[in-house]
């Protein structure tokens, strides 16, 4: 099985009974999905549980996926719904305070102090949940607006306005701190 196969091809192969194809999808998306859930929740074990559950549900319900080229959006949508319905969600401030030295910062373009990290995370955590979701999906995971519309089940216009609002609030917050 080639590594360069698209998600669509892998989904079709998985539907045809090749479990290895779905394994490749897991390897391809697990890091992204785990980090998205980790940023949302700030809880590593919760993020792992939700990530595992999301992959399991996607595997079990793979036949319900209509647009096979949108596997990632569909997977993230499952994860967002799981996170929203999970009662173990920690508070956003607690999620922001979860600074861990195990993060790999060696390859980052802007290495920053822990105080600066904490300040930015605190600003993000004060955003409304729907704004934070848009910020994470757009800036951290690079989803386009039509993909985010699938993930968050929301019109593109609404998502755009949420993103602009989130950036404005963050800019104002940073300006007030500096």
């Amino acid at each position: 099985m080639k590594q360069g196969e698209s998600d669509t091809e892998l989904v079709e192969q998985a539907l045809a009974g090749r479990v290895e194809a779905f394994n490749l999808l897991v390897w391809r998306w697990q890091r992204q999905l785990y980090n998205f859930l980790l940023r949302l929740s700030g809880d590593r074990s919760l993020a792992e549980d939700l990530c595992q559950e999301a992959f399991l549900r996607s595997y079990l319900n793979l036949r319900e996926l209509r647009e096979k080229e949108r596997f990632a959006s569909w997977l993230f949508r499952i994860a967002v719904n799981l996170y929203r319905s999970d009662r173990r969600r920690p508070s956003p401030l607690a999620a922001a305070a979860d600074l861990d030295d195990s993060y790999d910062t060696a390859g980052e373009a802007h290495p920053m102090s822990r105080e600066m990290q904490l300040a930015i995370r605190t600003l993000v955590s004060r955003l409304k949940p729907e704004l934070r979701e848009v910020v994470f999906l757009r800036f951290f995971h690079g989803f386009q607006f039509d993909e985010m519309a699938v993930i968050l089940n929301c019109p593109v216009g609404t998502l755009k306005s949420r993103l602009y609002k989130a950036v404005d609030e963050l800019r104002l917050g940073l300006a007030s701190q500096s």
């Binding site: 479990v19 980052e108 930015i120 995370r121 757009r138 951290f140 607006f145 755009k160």
Partner: protein, 223 residues
């Protein structure tokens, strides 16, 4: 392009998602509008700060991976068949033990397993019953056959003088002692015969009272 149109697409511009023709228009506007240019810079800095504040992490545990169906190799096939053969051999041994039921004698010197003993036991179990009354009858018959001979020996001498009562009593006691000795001798010989013919009398004592007629000849099993 004016400022509202530019700012409408600023998110796409920062992400590099604007189509080529539209991008040229935005480039032209950015050249002449310092506020829109500053806005683009702020968005880019914001994205860089956000990404730097939350570096990427790896999950500590391996995530869900469905098990692919196993492809059978010759080694797996051999292992499977070897497992089945082992199970069949063990089952056969257990069946043989259950059917043959060998007697196992073990002392410090050697271990002896006797299969023939088990068959003998089975035959004993299936032997016709012999009751205590039957054995007593056989003993009595044997004594009756032997008694005339002994009775002849016991006959007093005819033509002798009449004995006194005390002498008569002494003679009677002596005769009884002789008879008792004869009885014991006969009984001993009978038991010897019984043992020689391999009778298992112990099994006979356990048989209930619905035994066959005592006159019927017993059918004993021989070793």
């Amino acid at each position: 392009m004016n400022c509202p149109d530019f700012q409408e697409l600023i998110a796409e511009r920062v992400a590099g998602e604007v189509p080529t023709e539209r991008r040229r228009e935005m480039d032209a506007h950015e050249e002449i509008c310092p506020s829109c240019r500053r806005l683009v810079t702020e968005w880019r800095e914001m994205q860089s700060l956000l990404v730097a504040s939350w570096p990427t992490a790896d999950p500590a545990l391996p995530l869900f991976l469905p098990n692919p169906p196993r492809r059978s190799s010759w080694l797996q096939t051999a292992q499977t068949w070897f497992g089945f053969a082992s199970m069949a051999a063990v089952t056969a041994c257990l069946l043989m033990l259950a059917i043959l039921r060998p007697s196992v004698n073990f002392d410090r010197r050697q271990l002896a397993i006797n299969f023939s003993q088990s068959h003998a036991d089975e035959e004993v179990i299936s032997a016709p019953a012999v009751t205590q009354a039957q054995v007593q009858t056989w003993v009595r018959q044997a004594l009756d056959q032997s008694m005339p001979q002994s009775g002849e020996k016991m006959q007093p001498v005819s033509g002798s003088r009449a004995l006194s009562p005390s002498e008569e009593q002494t003679r009677r006691i002596a005769q009884l002692g002789v008879e008792f000795e004869i009885l014991r001798e006969n009984q001993g010989s009978l038991w010897q015969q019984v043992e020689q013919h391999g009778l298992y009398l112990q099994s006979a004592w356990r048989v209930p009272s619905d035994a066959p007629d005592s006159n019927e000849k017993p059918k004993f099993n021989r070793r």
